[in-house]
Every structure is written in C-alpha cells, then in structure tokens.
C-alpha cells in the first residue's frame, strides 16, 4: 500500500468535490441562500448534456458550449422569477422552496428518462494515465482538478478585480446599504445564481463523464458539496478547494483500509473537523 499515492488520488478527487461546492458556496456567500436543490441541479446539468450529445452527436466536452449558457439562463430565471420572492422572509422560505425544486427535478427526470443509470462518454481520455516514477496518475482527474483550480482562480479575479465582483461583495456585506448606493440587488442575485449555475453545470458534466448518474443521484452530491464548503469555511473559495481535498483524501484513506469505508470515512472527517473547528478551516463570512 502506497500512502503517497492515496494522498494524490484523494487530493485529485477533491477537485470534483470543490467543483460541486462552488455554486453552493457562491449562492450562500452572496445571498445567504441555502440551495437544497443544488445536487439535483448538478444532475440536471448532466442530463441536459446527455440530451445535447444525443441530438447533436457531439462529445460531452463540446456539449458544454450549449449546457453552460442554458444553465446560466435557468439560474438567472430561477432567481429572478422565484427565489427573489423568498429572500425577505428569513432562512426558512428559501429552504422550503429549494427543497420543492429538488423534488420537482428528481421526479421530472424520473418521468423523462426513467430510473436507469446514464453516463456521458468522452472516450480515451477517461482511462488515460500518466506515469511518474512508480506513480500512475489519471489524466482525467488531473484535468478536473485543474478545472477546479482555474474556476476558483477565475472567480477570485471576478470578486476582487471587477466592478461586478465589488458589487457582489458589497451585497454580501450589507444588502440594504448596497441598495441605497444604487445597486439593484434582485438583478445582482439573478446574475449570481446564473454564474453559480455555470460552475454547477461544469461539475455536473465532468462528473457525468467520470461516473454513472440517475435521477436520484442529486442528494449525495449536495451532501458532498455541503461538507466541502463547511470544512473549508463559509465564504472562502480556496477554503472550499481545501475542504474538497480533505474530503477526497479521507475517502481514499477509508477506501484503502476497507473499500466499504470510503463514504463513511469522508463523513467522519467532516464531523471531526466540525467538532474541532466549527467554523471551518478558513472562514470568511460571518453569520
């Protein structure tokens, strides 16, 4: 058994979990929206990609050119048309509404596609690997990890170097005052969920290439995303990446000890960190 290898595989798996978590982290960070439907939106994105590949015959990677804008539009419309109406009444209404959306997506997918497992097929890259000394590293996990890092770096640039990002941070700090300074919060929230959904869709398609998905696959994705965000600390994007890696490494170690322990080990690591550092490793957002 090679522990360094386990660390590397687990860390790369963390790239997936970080991608799962970006959208969740953004919508909580900016509008304090706890999106229970987040996992189902990841799965929905994979189905959208599946339909695109069926009808156009393009590979899943290319389908992103359609899936990402579609999911941006869906996120924008969802926030503008529905979730904005829930934000003035405290934490509970958005929880209930997104829980409802979660049920609608799961059952809609079940109705439309049946309970079968599906997978997006990208071809040779799925199984390609690189050799470095005695290590074999999968090209695909490496690619996904790179996408996660680039996504977070891109979002950091957006938040800290652009006018839109400044508005996002101001609204996150104090939405009422931002409105008094001329920011249209409702439009900004819609943009935020639209952008969050782009990363959610990216996660959905990339994970759909790696593993099978079914209409009921959403909730476990949601839990993994939640755990990555909480371990990393609310509001910190790089923290979310670290959180995803902690989760991935814990799962790899668990799997190495006994294959049935993989999922449990991740949850135990999450609980342990919650006990030792309840606000996560790198918290930024208060309340």
């Amino acid at each position: 058994m090679n522990w360094l290898n386990i660390l590397i595989q687990g860390g790369l798996l963390g790239g997936f979990y970080a991608l799962f978590a970006i959208g969740l982290s953004m919508s909580f960070g900016i509008m304090r929206l706890v999106n229970i439907a987040h996992g189902d939106l990841i799965v929905l994105s994979a189905y959208v990609a599946l339909v695109v590949t069926w009808y156009t015959g393009v590979a899943p990677f290319l389908s992103l050119a359609i899936v990402l804008p579609v999911m941006f539009g869906l996120g924008y419309a969802l926030q503008r048309g529905l979730l904005n109406q829930t934000l003035s009444g405290g934490l509970l209404p958005p929880l209930l509404v997104t829980f409802g959306i979660s049920i609608i997506i799961q059952n809609g997918l079940l109705q439309g596609f049946g309970a079968y497992d599906h997978r997006l097929k990208e071809g040779a890259i799925e199984t390609a690997s690189l050799q470095a000394g005695s290590f074999y590293v999968g090209v695909y996990p490496l690619l996904v990890f790179a996408v996660a890092v680039l996504s977070i770096a891109g979002l950091q640039l957006l938040f800290y170097r652009t006018r839109l990002g400044r508005a996002f941070r101001a609204v996150s700090d104090d939405a009422d005052t931002a409105e008094l300074m001329g920011i249209d919060n409702r439009k900004l929230y819609a943009l935020a969920l639209g952008i969050a959904m782009v990363f959610t869709a990216l996660a959905g398609v990339l994970f759909g290439i790696r593993t099978i998905f079914a209409p009921s696959s959403g909730p476990i994705r949601l839990i993994l995303a939640f755990e990555a965000v909480i371990i990393g600390g609310l509001g910190s994007m790089w923290g979310t990446l670290i959180g995803g890696m902690v989760l991935g490494i814990a799962q790899s170690i668990g799997a190495a000890l006994d294959p049935t322990w993989q999922i449990l080990a991740g949850h135990l690591a999450f609980l342990a960190i919650l006990i030792v550092r309840p606000s996560g490793l790198f918290p930024r957002t208060k309340d």
């Binding site: 006018r163 101001a170 996150s172 104090d174 931002a178 008094l180 300074m181």
Partner: protein, 232 residues
Amino acid sequence: MTLLQTQNLSAFYGDFQALFDINVTVEEGETVAVIGANGAGKTTFLRTVAGALAAAPESVVFDGKPVGHKTPHAIVRLGIAMVPEGRRLFPSLSVEENLLLGTHSERAGPWTLKRVYELFPRLHDLRHLPAPSLSGGQQQMAAIGRALMSNPRLLLCDELSLGLAPVVIRDIYECLGAITSEGAAIVLVEQDINRALDASSRFYCFQEGRLALSARTKDFDRAAISAAYFGL
C-alpha cells in the same frame, strides 16, 4: 426651484405609523436641517425619501416627479444619495472600493475619486485599507465620499456627528460648503441641534412623527426651538 417636496407624507413600520402628514420642501442648493429628539421620525423621514420605506407615489416629489413608490436603487439613479446613520461602510471592501461603489448609480457629474480625495485628503493615504480599520471620523468621510460618488442633487446625511469627537465633527461640517457649492442640496438630520442649525438656512423640527416647527434658522431663537424639540 424646488428640488424635493413631500406632501402629507406618512410612513409605516407594519401597522405602526411613524410619520404623520409631513410637508417638507428643499430648494436646489440649500442646506436644510431636520432636528428632533430620539424617535421623532427623522431617520424614518430620510429612509422614506431614499426609498427604503414605501410611501404613496405623490407624497414624495423630486424634481417635479412623484417618486414615493420607487426602490432605493432607482432613487439613487435620480440623484438622491444617502449617508446612512452609523456610516454603514462595507467591511470587506477597501476604502477606495467603498467609494467606487457610489459609481454604481451611473450618474455623471463633478464628483470623481480625485475630487473626493481632494475634499478628504486623509482618505487618499488610507485608500487601500479595509474600511473597518479607519477611525470613526475617517469612516464618516468615506461614507460621505461614497454618497458623493453618485453625484447627487440631494444629499441626505443621517447623524453625521454620531459618536465623533467635537473637533472631528467640526472638520466634517466644514466640508459641507464644498458640497453645496457644487450644486447639491443637503438635508441634515441631527440630534446635535446647534451644529445642524449653524450649517443650515432652514430647519424642520419633528416631534413624535409630526412636524412641530419649521422656519428660517436666523428667525428663531433657541428657546422656541427647545420648546418644539421637547414638546414643552
């Protein structure tokens, strides 16, 4: 010319009525004080004019148009900017980012970053620091600067003197002249009556949500104001 006129303005927090039939006018370029004891409705008045509290459309008329029903961000775009009570700077933004936030109203005019830094030179030295690391007076300057960046025709100032040392308050009030000389009118809400009356040409005194007294500052002796203020 009349810039702002409220006509029988009433405002509510749920079922609680906080303002009763308030009639206030502000002429272009003038400085008006709104004074009154704690809970008299001064802040409510400002928040209603700024759109944070809903009112009947015709009860707030700005530049000849009814605006009582408009949202805060739409009101800023028309040229009413607010310096909120307690400054309310954005803590995770730097001083300069706080100032730049005022540009989201997309109004052109005399006030730019450069002009704000000329008005408050200290802010230029501190521009890259996070807003909460500033002293109270510096934060107040940044809050005024942020409002100016939207190039308002009417600047609403809520309790500029709150929690500040007298010498700092004097510095800040000295800057108000530079703001009106660029054409903006100012509404000063203050509990510090002397300070507000010295800086303004007219005043309104609120008492329990109603207008108790209004007059030109120089026409009234302080005893009459005290009577209206305390409802004696």
